[in-house]
Symmetry: C2
Subunit: 438 residues, 2 copies
C-alpha cells in the first residue's frame, strides 16, 4: 500500500459526535463517509453522507456554510444524483472527504449545535434511498476464477476454464434500466426454458431463480470515445464500490445464452446497495492482486503494472444471508449461506477498467461495472445458489426445516460487506437485499 495516500481521515482514534458512528459494529463510522442519494417523502432527491444511523444532507450542509468547498464542487453536490461529483474526479472528492471528516468529528463546532444537527442529520430509517447515480451503461464481468471453474465444470466437466479466461477479463454488457436500489421487491421473471429431454421449450415463470454475490464499481471521470485508459491511470476513474446482486434466472439463461451470451436471464433486475464506499475510504484495505498459480500466464502489458500487482485488490469480507417466509414467521434469523473475500478475484477492477477501455470504448461518470459472482474454493465460499447447491443437487438445509435449491416465493436475500484491518476502524457497505415477490 502507498501509505502516503492515508491521511487524517483514516485516523483510528478519531470519533464522531454522532454516537451511533462510534459503535464498533456500524458500517458507517467517521472513517467511511459513503455517498448516496436519498429522498424524504416526496421531496426532491438529494445527496447524502452516511454517518452511523444517520444521513448528512450534503447540499444543506453546504448551503448553511458548514462545509467550505469550491463553487464547482458545491454545484456538483447540489443535484439529485452523484454523476456530477463523479465527473469531477479524485481531487475534489478527497477535498470533500476531508471537510466532511472535520464537520462530523467530535471536536466539530456542529457537535454543540443541536438545532443545526437536527436540520442537517436525518435518521436513515426515515429516508428512502434511491440509486446513487444515473447509470449510463452497466457491464458485468466474470472475474472470480473459482466461480468460473465451478460453473464451467457443471457444463464442461473436462474443460471448465476456457482458453481465453486467463488472458481476458471476460465481461458482457448488462441492462442498465432494471438496476434497482436495495429493498426493491424482485418479481420472478417469466421466459422460455427447455428441459434437456424436452422436444420444445415452454414459456412460464422461472423455476431456477438465483442471486449472484458481486461487488460493483462506479466510474468517476471516464474517457472520451477512442482514448483507452492505461492500467496505471485506471484508478483515477474509480469512484467507489457498492455491493451488487445480479439476480439470475438459470433456466432462462441456459436456453438463451448461445451464441451471444446472457440476456433475459439477467435483465429483469439487478440490485445495488445505495451507499458508495469511496476509493479513499477503502485505502487501508488494499491488498496485492491475487497471486496467479504457477504456470498461469502473466497478464499482457496493458493489463499489468507494479502498482496493480502490489495493491490493486481490496480485502472485503462478503456474506450472503437467506431468510424464508417460514423463518420470518418462526422468528428465525436469516441463515448465512456463504462467506468469501473479494480479494480472491483473478482480475482486479483496475484491470477490468483498463480492459474495458482498451478498444477505445468510452466509460462515463456513473457507469457501473460488476465484478461477477465472487466465490472462493470451498462450498461455503460460493456466491450463488447454482454453485452453492450444485445446480440444485445439494439443496441448502434451512433452520425452518425447509430446503432450498433455488429461490422460492417470499425468500429474502441479503448481502453484507465489511473491511477490517488491524490498526484501522472497520467499515461496511450497508444493505444489499431483495425479497422475491412470488
Amino acid at each position: 500500500m502507498t501509505e502516503s495516500r492515508l491521511d487524517e481521515t483514516h485516523d483510528p482514534a478519531a470519533r464522531s459526535f454522532v454516537p451511533s458512528a462510534n459503535d464498533p459494529s456500524t458500517d458507517f463510522p467517521l472513517q467511511n463517509l459513503p455517498l448516496g442519494v436519498f429522498r424524504v417523502e416526496d421531496e426532491t432527491p438529494r445527496i447524502g453522507v452516511a454517518i452511523g444511523t444517520h444521513v448528512l444532507d450534503l447540499s444543506a450542509a453546504i448551503s448553511v456554510g458548514r462545509l467550505s468547498v469550491a463553487p464547482d464542487l458545491a454545484n456538483a453536490c447540489s443535484g439529485g444524483s452523484l454523476n456530477a461529483l463523479m465527473r469531477l474526479g479524485a481531487e475534489p472528492r478527497r477535498a470533500l472527504r476531508r471537510q466532511l471528516f472535520a464537520l462530523l468529528r467530535s471536536d466539530s463546532p456542529l457537535a454543540a449545535d443541536s438545532a443545526m444537527q437536527a436540520r442537517l442529520l436525518l435518521p436513515i430509517a426515515r429516508v428512502e434511498m434511491l440509486l446513487p447515480a444515473e447509470i449510463g451503461d452497466y457491464s458485468d464481468f466474470y472475474a472470480s476464477i473459482d466461480h468460473a471453474t465451478h460453473v464451467g465444470s457443471m457444463f464442461r466437466p473436462d474443460n471448465p476454464i476456457l482458453p481465453n479466461y486467463k488472458w481476458v477479463p471476460i465481461g458482457y454488457h448488462g441492462r442498465a434500466s432494471s438496476i434497482v436500489p436495495s429493498g426493491t421487491a424482485i418479481r420472478r421473471p417469466s421466459g422460455q426454458r427447455k428441459a434437456p429431454d424436452a422436444e420444445a421449450p415452454t414459456f412460464g415463470p422461472s423455476r431456477q431463480l438465483d442471486y449472484e454475490l458481486e461487488v460493483g464499481a462506479w466510474i468517476a471521470t471516464g474517457n472520451p470515445l477512442g482514448d483507452p485508459i492505461p492500467i496505471d491511470q485506471a484508478e483515477d476513474h474509480l469512484f467507489g464500490l457498492s455491493l451488487l446482486d445480479d439476480w439470475s434466472a438459470r433456466d432462462l439463461q441456459a436456453w438463451e445464452y448461445q451464441p451471444l451470451g446472457p440476456f433475459l436471464g439477467k435483465s429483469f433486475a439487478t440490485t445495488v446497495s445505495p451507499w458508495i464506499v469511496t476509493l479513499e475510504a477503502l485505502e487501508p484495505f488494499r491488498v496485492p492482486a491475487a497471486t496467479r498459480p504457477e504456470g498461469d500466464p502473466a497478464p499482457l502489458p496493458h493489463l499489468d503494472s507494479d502498482q496493480n500487482r502490489q495493491e490493486g485488490a481490496f480485502s472485503i469480507a462478503l456474506e450472503v444471508h437467506l431468510q424464508t417466509q417460514a423463518m420470518r414467521e418462526q422468528n428465525l434469523a436469516p441463515l448465512r449461506v456463504s462467506r468469501t473475500d473479494f480479494r480472491s478475484l483473478y482480475w482486479t477492477f483496475p484491470q477490468m477498467i483498463a480492459h474495458h477501455a482498451s478498444n477505445g470504448c468510452n466509460l462515463r461518470p456513473g457507469d457501473l461495472l460488476g465484478s461477477g459472482t465472487v466465490s472462493g474454493p470451498a462450498p461455503e465460499n460460493r456466491g450463488c445458489l447454482l454453485e452453492r447447491t450444485w445446480r440444485g443437487k445439494e439443496p441448502l438445509e434451512m433452520p425452518s426445516g425447509e430446503k432450498r435449491a433455488f429461490l422460492e416465493a417470499s425468500d429474502e436475500v441479503s448481502f453484507t460487506g465489511r473491511c477490517e484491518r488491524d490498526g484501522f476502524v472497520s467499515i461496511g457497505f450497508g444493505e444489499c437485499s431483495g425479497r422475491v415477490n412470488s
Copy 2:
C-alpha cells in the same frame, strides 16, 4: 395491411412547396417527415423534421404559431432530444405528423411566406446532425436467419443454427455510450486476438474490422419494470426506425466471445442514421412476417399474433456502399457491395420487443434495438464483410484494382434504405456512413 391506418399524409398526389421534396429521388418527401436533432454552429440542439434538402426547425415552427399542437406536445418538441416526444406515445406523434404535413404541403400559407420560410427551414447541409435521443440501453438482436446460418456455418459447419434460434429472438445487451451519429470517424480498435495456431494472444490494432448492416428501432413509451409487453401491444412502443452500423472487430470478437458473448469486439463504435423514420411514415410498406420454412416451429404464443403474421414486417431495400481512399483519389464512385431487404428477417421488431419485455425488463423512451445484420441467401445479399468475403477468403474486387477482405485505413462505408410500393411515394432513411480513420 390495415388500410385504415393510412390517411391523408400518405396521399401520393400531395406535394410540398419545398421543391427538393418533390424530387422522386429524395429520401425525404412530404410523405416521410422523419424526426431528428440538429445543431447550428454552437447553438442549443433542437428537434428538426427533414423535408427534401431542408430541415424544419420544429420548436421555432411551434413558437411562431405555425403548428397548432397541445401544450404537452409543444413542450415535448422544445428540448434537445426526442425522448420526451417518444414518451408521449403514438397519438400525439400522429397529430404532429398531420400538422407537419399540412404546414409543408404546397397549399400551406407558409408556401407564400418566404421570410418565414427562411426562418423555419434550414439547408440540411448547413446543420450538424446529432444523436436523435439519449439512449438509455441498446440491445442488439440476431434476427436474420441467413446471417446466422452463414456465420454459424463458418464456425460450426455441421450445426450452423443452434437449437434455440427458431424459438428465441436471440439478442444481447450492447454498449450505449459509443453510439455515434452518421459521419463520425471510426477509430480502429485495439484488443487481444489470437491466431488458432498461436500459443498466446497478442494486443494490437484489429486486423479484421467489419461493418454490419442493420436496422435500428427506437422505443416510444416503454413499460414499467416487471410488466411485460404483450405482442399485440408491441407496436405501441415502436417510435420509428433508423439505419444502424454495428461496427465489429472480428478478431477481437472471436477470441473474447465465449462464454458471455461479444463485448470489446463491438463496443468501440456503433453508427446510426440521425433521422428517425416514424411508424406512421412506414405504414404503406408493411408486409407479412417472413414465412417460416416447412417444418420450422410456430412461435410460442407470446411471440405470435395474427397482426404480426399479416403485417409485422416492413419492406426496406437496403444497400451497402464501400469507397476506398484510392477510389476517392481516382474519382471512382462508391461500390455497391451488398443489397438485401429488411423483410426477410426471421423475427420482426414486434416480436423482438415482446421478447425483450417478456421477463419484465423495462424498455424506456429512446432505447435502441438493433435488428442484427440483415442478410439474404445470395452472396450479394450478405450484410457484413465476414459473410461477404467468407472470413476474408473471397475478397471483394474494388474498381480501383484493390481487394478488400476487411476494412482498411480510410475506407468509407455507407448504407442506404428505401421503401417503395406502387401507388405510394418512395421514402428513404438518409445517410448512415462512417470512415475508418486508420
